[in-house]
Every structure is written in C-alpha cells, then in structure tokens.
Amino acid sequence: MSERTRSAKKGSPSADGSVPPGLTDEEGRRLLDFYRRMVVIRRFEERAARGYTQALIGGYCHLNLGEEAAVVGLVAALDERDYLFTNYREHGYAIERGISPERVMAELYGRVDGVSKGWGGSMHLFDVDHRLLGGYGIVGGQLPLATGAALAISYRGSDEVVMCTMGDGTTNIGAFHESLNLAALWHLPIVYVIINNRLGMGTTVEKSSAEPELARRAASYRMASARVDGLDPLATYEATRAAVAAARAGAPFLLEVVSERLRGHSVVDPAKYRTAEEVEALTSHDPIHTVGARLMVEGLLDAAGLAALDEEAKAIAERASAFAESSPHPDPSTLFDYTYATPVANDLHRLPGEPLFAARPRPTEVA
C-alpha cells in the first residue's frame, strides 16, 4: 500500500488524525460539489444492489462502491464534447456524464426507458447524446474501440478527447498493449485510465501484473503517465485535467487511479477471499467517510448538511428505482429491430419455435 502514503499531498485527514493544510475557497466549493455527487453514486449503487436482491435486476451487476471519488474526479475533468468509453462497472460514470439516474436505473431493470432501451443492462450503458460510448463486458474490449474513436477525432482534426477507463486486471490483456501502441504511434487524443482497485475478481495486482506499478507500463510506448490517489477526488480531478490537456494536444496519456473496491466483484460475490483485517482497513479508506470528514474538518459541512445531502441522494436513488419499475418492458415484437442498422434482404425474423419454412399441407393418412 505504498502508494497510499504518497497520495494526496494536502487536505485529507492523515492517519494520526492531524489536520493537513486547508483548501482554497475554490477547492472547497469543488470538494463539496464532488462529495454531493459521490453520495449520489453511493446511494444509487446501494439501491441497485437492493434491486438485484429484489430480482428486479438480472445478469451481472458490478458497483462503483469505493470508487466514487475516482469516478467523480475523472468525469469532472472532461468537457461535454469529450467521449467516454468504460467497462461493465460504470453506473457512476453514466450518472456523472449527466444521464439521469432514472434512465440508468431503468436500464438496469431492462426497461424501454433505459439508456440502452433495455438491450444492454448494467454492463452496457450507452448514451450517444451524453457521449458515453459504452459500457463493455469483455475485459479490454473497450480499448481498441476508444482508440479508434480517438483516431476518428484526429482524422477530422477536431479537438475532442476520448477517455477510456479500465480495471487493473485489464492491463494484462493483449488489447491493452496493441491499443496503447497505436495511440502513441498515431498521436491520438486519448487518456487511458486504470482504476486500480487492487483486485481483478479475487486476484490481486501483484499476482497478475509483473510490474504492479501499472502506470509504468506507459514506457513501452513512450507515453506519459501518472499515478494518483483515487480516494481523493480533488487530486484525481487535477491529475485528470493535466492528462486530458496533454491528450487534447495530441499526446496520449496513461493515468493510474489507485482506489478501493468496498464489496465483492459483483453484487453476488461475498468476497470471502478477503481477510477480516482487509475488510476493516477498507472501511477506514471509504472515500465517503474520509471526504465527508474532511469537509467537516474544513468547516464546509456540518452534521445537518451532511445528513441533508444524504437524504437528497437517497431520494434520487428511490426516484430512479420507482421510475425504473414503472417503465414498461420492451415489447417482444421489437425483437428484430436492432440486428441491423441498414435493413437487409432475407434477414431471418424467425422465433425459436417457428419452422424455417411454412408447414406443408398435411399428407393424407397412409394405410
């Protein structure tokens, strides 16, 4: 946990309880805003977990619990015109990009008002208007795509940036290598972000990456990189702004954001592979606690204010799930609507129980 020690240089309460140097006014306002957003994500994710146990959400469901500070700091550093590609652990990103929690939750519930019209589910949020270009469930699958989006931007000479997030475990797959090499060769406007929550599912970074300081892998492509404390939303924001600026100038960047995953890999994982001490340590790192405490110490929030924020976030999550539950299921008649964008002759619209060819007239009974 050495990177924890060289993390946020100012402002967060240190382990011995002493108060680090204070925040500027602007930083204070920003931190308060970030905190509010973090709490929304927290309550949204908890509500989603409940929706899963209520069997209103199916499939896999991966939460951003513990990663709220990272999510908020990262997305805040993007412009509206920028593009975001991410993985299956992306509810928080969708909300931060400005998509309404209602539409995000409706997607988790598989309803027509979901961002992906119910076709994608938790792992596949997408909203072309908010330039969230997916949620992808294949580990590493988003990297070549994001690289290609950056290629299209560069080809047109426009000035958007692409951000592509991934987990620590994802840095070991071939697509990571191929993509970063292309981006560096072609000077593409892209920031690759590793959310290092120290675990794949139950496998640690040390067990899966021979160079566990993941940002260092940028050197293979002569790419600039940095490592930042993802439990500190301000530090994450500042580091991301610098990375995005570099990318906008045509120098792709690799940013490692060191974070925590508070619960199991997905809602159904009890995370038995964690020791009691690890679980204990996690709680003290929980960014909702540490950032909340810091705001109190800084005098930017009192207990009542904190409670109010929390109530507001809970209400947002409740509204989202109420909306989702009341949104209709897709109609089975729409099953064949999205196989092809350009309609095509002889596309087979056959339901599983239907014969390929209309039945022949019944033969007359023999003998």
Partner: protein
Amino acid sequence: MMAVMTFRQALHDTLRDEMHRDENVVLMGEEIGVFEGSYKITAGLLSEFGERRVRDTPIAEEGFTGAAIGAAMLGLRPVVEIMTINFSLLALDQIVNHAAKIYGMFGGQARVPLVIRTPGGGGQQLGATHSQNIELYYAFVPGMKVVAPSTPADAKALLLAAIRDDDPVLFLENLALYNTKGDVPDGDAPAEIGRAAVTRRGSDLTLIGYSRTAFVANQVAQELAETEGLDIEVVDLRSLRPLDRTTIVESVKRTSCAVVLEDDWLTYGIGAEVAATISDGAFDYLDAPVRRVAMAEVPLPYSKVLETAALPSHEDVINAVYQTLDAVGRRRPAARR
C-alpha cells in the same frame, strides 16, 4: 456403486481425482484458485493442491491458453478453465491455429494433451456478449475434439476421457446444467469420445440434443410419454467432433422423423450439420423435413422479456414435436388437443 450428485460436483470430484492420479494434471485459469472459480467448479482445490497445480492466471486468455498448449507439448496435461465460452474468442487463434494444428502440421511429432473446460449458455440476462453458444467454432476444426455432456455421469466419464486423451479437447459445460443432479457411478470408466448415445428408445420421433438441449430432450420425451403416451427416441450427441453420424442416422431410420434442439443460432449452427446429415443418410426413410429449434437470430438482449422471446422454450420444443408428428401423420389420436 452410484452416488447422486450435481453436475458441478461431478466435475469437481473428477478434477480432484485426476489430479491425485496424475502429477501432470494441472489446472489453469482466471480466478480458479483464490476465488474458487467463477462457477465454483474448482472450489477447495487450491488449498488442497497448492499454487503449483492450481494456477490463477492474469486476464490473458490468449496467453494462458497458449501457455497451456506449450506446456502440453512438453507432457503436462493442463486443464484450462475459460470462464465462459464467450471469452474463448480471445484465445481462438491459439486453439484453432496452434492446439489443433501442432500434431498434424509437424508430422505427428508433438502431442497436445490439453483440456479446455468452458461453459456456454444464455437465459441468465447476461446480454449479447456473455450469452453465446459458439461451440461451433471448435466443432468445425479437424484436430480438435469437442465433447458436450448433459448429465453428471457423462460429465465425469467424458472429463476422464478428455484428460487422458492426447489431443486437445474442448469440454463444453453449460451454466444451466451445473445444479442439475443425477446418478454418477463410482470407479474409473472414461467414456469413448466420438460416440453419441441413444438415451431413450422410442419409435415415434427422434429428438436430438447435446449439453443443455439433450437434458431438455430427455425431459420433454419423458413428459410427452406420461401426458400423451408418445414414444420418443432421444439421441444425446455427447461429442460434437467427431460427430457420431451412424447413431443419428440409424435412429432416424427407425423413427423416420427428427427434431434437433440447439441453443445457438439456427443458420450455420450445430443443428445444420445434424439436419444435413439426417437428410442425406436417411434420405429414403425421412417422412418430414428435419425440424430445428434454435435461437432467434439476434444479438441476445438483456431484457428478460426480449431474452425469453429469443431463446427456445420448453413449449417451442413440444410444438415442434407435435408439428413434426402431424407432418408425418403419426400423432396419436389420443394425443390431439
């Protein structure tokens, strides 16, 4: 001696027994150790055998599958778990262009005694990229062997055979079968790869499946025997490559009609070969077209409603049976609704 156990337990116990029997058997895959496997097939094996023999790998399907192939060339007998068959696309070059080619391309100098265990299956709302049935990609390739058990007993017998075979074997599992139960004989009796089984004799119609759909076929045959007095023969393919054409064709020669069940897409799916084989080999016996029951041809949607519409249901199977019996004029009057 027999014991009743789940499909999962049969796999687990067989892996464990084989590891005890042969020091060359090693397990590799993502999250099979500390996490005990995404579907818990390998639970407890890391603590029993240690990291040397139960190896958690990075997320690198191509790399670790290829490494298992290379290790097999030197005589280990790796059993690789690919978490779901969808992710095996990333390892396909290593499997198709290397594992399946090495024996032939080098004139028989190196064997690749490798097993790849991997589950397919839709119906869990996992969406378009996590619900595919792409065993076709392996079954198509000479040099590969592909087995697809439907019962705990076959899970054991075919896994024993696969581990002891000197060729690369894709061992197809299915998410929906893991919790199913059945009798599993004690003792050491590997199955013969390349043989289908007639799991139920009957004269009215041949119902054909593999993996989950063989389970469904037996269930439906049983049900229709009880409720409608129908006498349906069931062929469980068990091996997709080699494909046991003789057993399939001989069955249809007896029944003169067939319904093929598959969980993949219809066009070019596994059922296409089965139907083509029947239509050719039993040409003079067939009284109605071979009916295929398969997925709708769409990327599988997440929404439960849409997913259900896209996947073959129990009802779909029963209707296909009725319609085929109608077509051959054989549906028993008692059974008419």
